[in-house]
């Protein structure tokens, strides 16, 4: 079952109740449930608001697959090409070989996978950044909240000046001299480096037995450090980059993505993608097992 640390999307909405109560009578009908805003002409571009990432962010037109990242993280798709080989440690390579993914060059049929996602385990961070992205961002003076469309998950980035917790050997973090457990989304703090750029660092994510980096079975461990940069060059554009460092699994840090995201219609009644154990079971019984030859 899901950890109690996971609160539903409605729970997150309550945090921002003041926004919910704001009313606007300018929506005479229900807009499309899938973000599909067209590109903004250069002449129509507006300056970004100061220190704000607020909005519903989706893929750029014609580039949906970049936010899906189903064949591996955006900058290193798992396609066997030499330039996309990763700097595994021996342990990292052993971990990778133990994974049976549904995507990438080492993909197996649905009936043979051991991807925790297929059991509806939470993806955790940073895999949530690498799968079917669509983000609603809210913020106040203390934090940035990111609502992920996949499986209605949400995450908090603290921007109130608190320090990054100390990562502990064996997993988890130390905060104010006390041990805190690993979490699916870890512990994130952010700092505005200028009025349009937020740097975020995250530690304390889940151990390698529970999470993967991406759909292709690349591993990560509890010693992972995630560094993200959110840059808003204009009103309608968000550039989201991510670099990971994980000495248990990789011999050096490497960049996983540098995604351009586009501001979407805030009235979109989003059609989310979710994982339902009963629906996965029904799919496998009706199709997945049979087409896999099981």
């Amino acid at each position: 079952m899901r950890s109690s640390a996971f609160v539903s999307l409605p729970g997150a909405a309550l945090i921002f109740a003041v926004t919910v109560f704001a009313q606007n009578g300018s929506t005479p009908t229900w807009p499309e449930p899938v973000p599909n805003r067209q590109a903004i002409a250069a002449k129509d571009k507006k300056p970004a608001p100061r220190r704000s990432l607020v909005g519903m962010w989706g893929s750029m037109p014609g580039n949906r697959q970049a936010t899906n990242q189903s064949s591996g993280v955006q900058l290193k798709p798992n396609n066997g090409r030499p330039e996309n080989q990763l700097p595994y440690t021996p342990y990292g390579l052993e971990l990778y070989k133990s994974h049976k993914p549904l995507e990438g060059v080492d993909a197996v049929p649905p009936a043979s996978t051991n991807d925790p996602r297929v059991r509806c385990e939470p993806l955790g961070l940073p895999r949530h950044n690498h799968y079917d992205l669509g983000i609603q961002i809210f913020q106040d003076e203390y934090k940035v909240a990111m609502l992920y469309q996949y499986d209605n998950q949400w995450r908090i980035i603290w921007t109130d000046g608190r320090p990054l917790p100390k990562l502990v050997d064996g997993g988890g973090v130390e905060i104010n001299g006390q041990y805190r457990e690993p979490r699916w989304f870890g512990y994130s703090v952010g700092r505005w480096v200028d009025d349009y750029t937020l740097d975020v660092e995250t530690v304390g994510t889940m151990p390698e037995q529970r999470v993967w980096l991406d759909n292709t079975g690349r591993p990560i461990s509890d010693q992972l450090r995630i560094r993200e940069t959110f840059r808003r060059p204009d009103y309608d554009t968000l550039e989201w980059s991510e670099t990971i460092e994980d000495p248990k699994v990789y011999t050096r840090s490497w960049q996983t993505m540098k995604l351009p995201m586009m501001l979407q219609d805030p009235r979109t009644d989003l059609m989310t993608r979710y994982c339902s154990p009963s629906e996965v079971d029904a799919y496998n019984k009706a199709y997945g097992d049979a087409v896999s030859g099981k």
Partner: protein, 138 residues
């Protein structure tokens, strides 16, 4: 013309690369590059995650009825190709174009479904390109 709701035709299209099915699993382990078109009668339409499923019965030249099953994307992606939760109901006559399964069985990856009144769902061009080819991310 073949009797009843017979298999119509099949043709091979060379695809450029093995590609994912947009999210849950890759298409390369399950499907060939061959595109098959079949006529049948809808038995059920499952609008759910991780993939929507169309089940339909096809009557062969010998009169034998075979249950075919074909999948497409999750609802939030299938929606963008015109599919809806109520697109098909049992008894609808459909012409289904899909990528054939590696197993050779009555399975496929949906490219396009056409109802008897001409209503179309899906994207034939997407199938020819291999659906999800864009997953070869830039």
């Amino acid at each position: 013309m073949k009797r009843g709701l017979a298999i119509a035709f099949a043709m091979a299209i060379g695809l450029l690369m093995a590609v994912p099915l947009a999210a849950h699993h890759t298409a390369s382990t399950l499907y060939t590059e061959k595109i098959v078109t079949v006529k049948g009668v809808v038995k059920s339409w499952l609008w759910s995650n991780p993939h929507c499923l169309l089940m339909f019965e096809v009557t062969g030249d010998d009169g034998k009825v075979v249950l075919w099953r074909a999948e497409t994307q999750a609802p939030n992606t299938a929606y963008t190709e015109g599919y809806r939760a109520n697109s098909f109901k049992p008894g609808d006559e459909v012409t289904v174009t899909m990528r054939a399964a590696v197993s050779g069985g009555p399975f496929g990856l949906l490219a396009q479904v056409v109802l008897a009144d001409g209503t179309k769902f899906g994207n034939l061009d997407g199938a020819a390109r291999g659906r999800g080819r864009g997953a070869e991310t830039p």
